[in-house]
Symmetry: C2
Subunit: 350 residues, 2 copies
Amino acid sequence: MTIQVHGYAAQQAKSPLGPYSFERHEPCDYDIVIDIRYCGICHTDIHQVGDEWGESKFPMVPGHEITGIVLQVGPRVTRYKVGDRVGVGCFINSCRKCEPCRKNLEQYCTEGMTTTYNGTERDGTPTQGGYSNKIVVDENYVLSIPDNLPLDKTAPLLCAGITLYSPLMHWKAGPGKKVAIIGLGGIGHMGVKIAHALGAEVTVLSHSLKKQEDGKKLGADYFYATSDLKTFEKLTGYFDLIINTVSAEIDWNQYLDLLALDGTMVVVGIPENKIPVGSFSLVAGRRSIAGSLIGGIKETQEMLDFCSKNNIASEIEVVPIQKVNDAYKRVLDSDVRYRFVIDMKSLEQH
Amino acid sequence: MTIQVHGYAAQQAKSPLGPYSFERHEPCDYDIVIDIRYCGICHTDIHQVGDEWGESKFPMVPGHEITGIVLQVGPRVTRYKVGDRVGVGCFINSCRKCEPCRKNLEQYCTEGMTTTYNGTERDGTPTQGGYSNKIVVDENYVLSIPDNLPLDKTAPLLCAGITLYSPLMHWKAGPGKKVAIIGLGGIGHMGVKIAHALGAEVTVLSHSLKKQEDGKKLGADYFYATSDLKTFEKLTGYFDLIINTVSAEIDWNQYLDLLALDGTMVVVGIPENKIPVGSFSLVAGRRSIAGSLIGGIKETQEMLDFCSKNNIASEIEVVPIQKVNDAYKRVLDSDVRYRFVIDMKSLEQH
């Protein structure tokens, strides 16, 4: 027995997404069937559909910012019951045995996490993501969505939110800390909100001042244009933590020099080219450049609870799934404030 | 009144060092006059004499691994008395007001530390280093050499020793931690000794197995040749901390991939070219690449006391100053185990 699922898929690399029906397995002992209500559009979806990282499998149903309602539970499920508000992020399984898994850092699983889509389940089945009406996930990889968080605005927290929350926590953003976020997009705007709620002084470093007003409303204390070279003179040695959310090429050393003693610059994306790091910038201030990848399940739940407590969610534009290809184009043009979220009810329209 | 000093200097960039007489100022209130007994030859000396970093001042008396005996003290000196065994490292002053200075991290002084040679004192006088018979230094920038440490073998601790001790402490090398030292030279061999004494598991990553026996004697648990590609397969994800002591070009990402989750690779030199860092290596394991520069006065004293307690000093070859130019050639050929130290008594020979 299998579950019939409707969604949108890319049939091959770079092709537009279109309607696609497929099957998911019946829930096993610990599985939950989720009625997907919303799914965010992450830039990663576009990279994967475009096969830009070279490992894409087709047909591909993207989507890893999933919120919905529990529809059915497997016989041994204890954490969730039918009707619960739940979420699924970037992965749905991991080896559960390696050191990172045992430390609740499944995103760094040494065997590789099972990604929500464009991955392979432990039994070899290709995974398909959240641009669909149902998904089946082990309860241990499902998040609980607090009551005060709306399902649409919460969807992007499952990737964009945790991508920033995790490094902000790991590198101890908080009162007395000066944090810069490079780029005020889907990921960056979550960084501003979360860093502000953590009590840090938050600066946005954006190409222009176009989004200045927005940035301040979202919680930024300061907003600088990086197209203005004076910005770099003025802020030399200033920040304890800089998180780079943009995938465009930047002059990395210019930004490294903005770090204070013992400051860290965190990369949360995979820029196409290698990062040319001047060792003098590192050595002269015991600075670091580091990477961070989403967050583990435990930390993602903490992030949701933190957002609940601080009334934080994503700024979104809800679109029907029929508009997904247009939305992709607008993401590439940075023409969204700040995240597209697909309303899965639209799947019922023909 | 001034103090007459004899030493060896380079008269211009890349010229051989030769005898040179010059003057140092009389001790001010807090100054100490040191009768220099030994001075280590650091690779930096060769870079500076060669004007490879573009800011060399000539004539230049190099040397920043200095040990000797207190000959005279200024009227307000309280920390040292005539006859004390003392050392001077890479800097002899700093602003004393900035945040790094107030944190005892004078090496990161935002105004710039006053380097022991090829620098400028706060009054504008060029500084001249330890390839000479006397030096005048503020007592706050002088180290006390514990009785059981011989002055010759201790000289290299003042730069090579602290260069490794500081990152080993900062990134918490100790029991249960797996530390790799890239390169078993003047700096690297101190790293092996100190990391071993700190209780860490120590691995040397050397170009060949030529120094394997030495490495193990110095305290390495494991020794691998990096010319053997199997080394990189075998050690993927293994180390908590890697310290790169070599200035030669390496495939940085190959080494970054040897780091475990949350591991750090530390650069302690200034390679000529930018370091091309693949962000995937960073992101996939929350890895960092960081820089570290010698250590502050407080930490340098702690290092000396640690070495005293653990009977650690440098492996050296003592040379008369007349052989300094030959020694430079041999350093460039990696033909020294593991540090040259100049015996300043030789200055009296003609």
